[in-house]
Amino acid sequence: MSAEERIKETVSNNRVVLFMKGTPQFPQCGFSSRAVQILEACGTQFATVNVLSDMEVREGIKQFSNWPTIPQVYIDGEFVGGSDILLSMYQNGELQTKLNPAN
């Protein structure tokens, strides 16, 4: 399975996906770590992919989303943004609404 197919499968099988450097327990980059904290603060379940353990995905994800950096967040299969956009969406409440449309 190509990197692109693996990416497509991951973002369609998981409502919230964070492509990051490292893992939530051991983030390898400040921006990835901040993205983990933001998603945890929202109390949402999210899948993570450590791009450092899969170099094909690390490059493939940038073409897939037409976004040059990691971390990258996907919600309902749609690319939402990197660390900056995630933070600003969290600060203005847009992220919480997108994650929990019910309440």
Binding site: F31, W67, T69, G81, D84, S88
Partner: protein
């Protein structure tokens, strides 16, 4: 390592009609970018326009570039 002034030039060359203020430590940068073409675009699209203009310099040379993007009106309202 690259100087913030160089990143500023790259941003402005890559996005015609934009003006940028950049600070950074040589690998991680923060930029405020003002461009009238941002009008009507989502933050995601605005950031993509800046990153697109930088091409492969992003991530190869520039490890991280935090962006704050404004149209000229937004900038004037924000700073008045």
């Amino acid at each position: 390592m690259v100087a913030p002034e160089q990143v500023k030039l790259w941003i402005e060359e890559g996005l015609s009609g934009s003006s940028a203020d950049v600070v950074g430590d040589g690998r991680h940068f923060e930029a405020v970018v003002i461009c009238s073409d941002f009008a009507g675009k989502s933050m995601l699209e605005q950031h993509r326009m800046v990153y697109g203009g930088l091409g492969d310099k992003m991530d190869e040379i520039i490890h991280a570039l935090s962006l704050r993007t404004y149209t000229p009106q937004q900038w004037n309202n924000q700073s008045s």
